[in-house]
Amino acid sequence: MTYVALAYGFIWGAVFTYVALVGRRVAKIDAEIEDLRRRVKPGA
């Protein structure tokens, strides 16, 4: 039972970590885009 729980727990952990890392990247890029967008807007 321990091995089964370890296997499933590992997959959960790996997917969760991956989603969190990619989500953080998305947020960072979106913030940079927003910053640049403000800079290129005329009159900004």
């Binding site: 089964v4 997959i11 959960w12 991956y18 885009i33 800079r39 290129v40």
Partner: protein
């Protein structure tokens, strides 16, 4: 011309719904697996099969999608193909890692060792390493890194049939490809449901990863526009 992003929120909502649905599936799968009949010889440790096989399937699928995108990039110069290849290679590394962890856990209980140089295990490890090498070539390969990585993806795809058929061609310790078709009726629903949920999760993650690449491309486009605007004003 810089386009606004009116569909960004819609796609974000779609992504969240998809993620929630697949995450919900991640709770249903263990329930189905727990209620599946016990395999006579291996007992409870056989249940790792319900997670290990879908991860292995996604490792192979990711490699094929990566090769498809790489072909489009190499022969048509498709940037979208390149983005698809990069995104799926990353998912291949993720699910390959899951294969490399869940497999040895099963092997320890079934064979008494975490690892043996069986042809299926070795060819799978090679496939996973090739996808890692793909990512490294892109990151550190310099100007021609993307083309080098794309060529490597084609080699990785050539390894997939070898991984799949190895258990039938060279009899080793690993169960053959007939295991799935010979599953007991009570084991089929949890297995195919698990396969469907993992595949759906792969689709959601691919969409998320592709979004990162699109945003990255937009960022580069904006940076160039800013440089251009600042150059003109000086």
């Amino acid at each position: 011309m810089l386009s606004p992003m009116p569909t960004a929120r819609k796609s974000q909502a779609r992504f969240l719904v998809g993620l929630l649905l697949t995450m919900h599936g991640f709770f249903v799968v263990p329930w189905l697996v727990a209620n599946a009949p016990l395999e006579k010889t291996m007992g409870i440790v056989q249940k790792i099969f319900y997670f290990h096989v879908p991860c292995a399937w996604l490792l192979m699928l990711s490699t094929f999608v990566c090769a498809g995108g790489s072909l489009a990039y190499l022969f048509r110069g498709s940037e979208r193909g390149d983005r698809l290849a990069q995104s799926s290679a990353e998912l291949g590394v993720l699910f390959g890692l899951c294969v490399m962890v869940t497999g040895p856990l099963w092997a320890r209980a079934a064979w008494g060792v975490f690892w043996t140089w069986d042809v299926r295990l070795t060819s799978s490890l090679l496939l996973w390493l090739m996808l890692i090498a793909y990512g490294l070539a892109r990151r550190y390969g310099g100007a021609g890194g993307r083309r080098l990585a794309a060529a490597m993806a084609l080699f990785a795809a050539a390894d997939v049939p070898l991984v799949y058929l190895s258990v039938n061609l060279w009899r080793g310790l690993h169960p053959t490809t007939k295991t799935v078709s010979s599953l007991a009726p009570g084991m089929r629903l949890p297995f195919f449901f698990s396969l469907a949920i993992f595949s759906a999760l792969w689709g959601v993650l691919l969409a998320l990863r592709m979004r990162v690449e699109r945003s990255q491309a937009r960022l580069v486009e904006l940076e160039l526009a800013v440089e251009d605007a600042e150059g003109k004003s000086q």
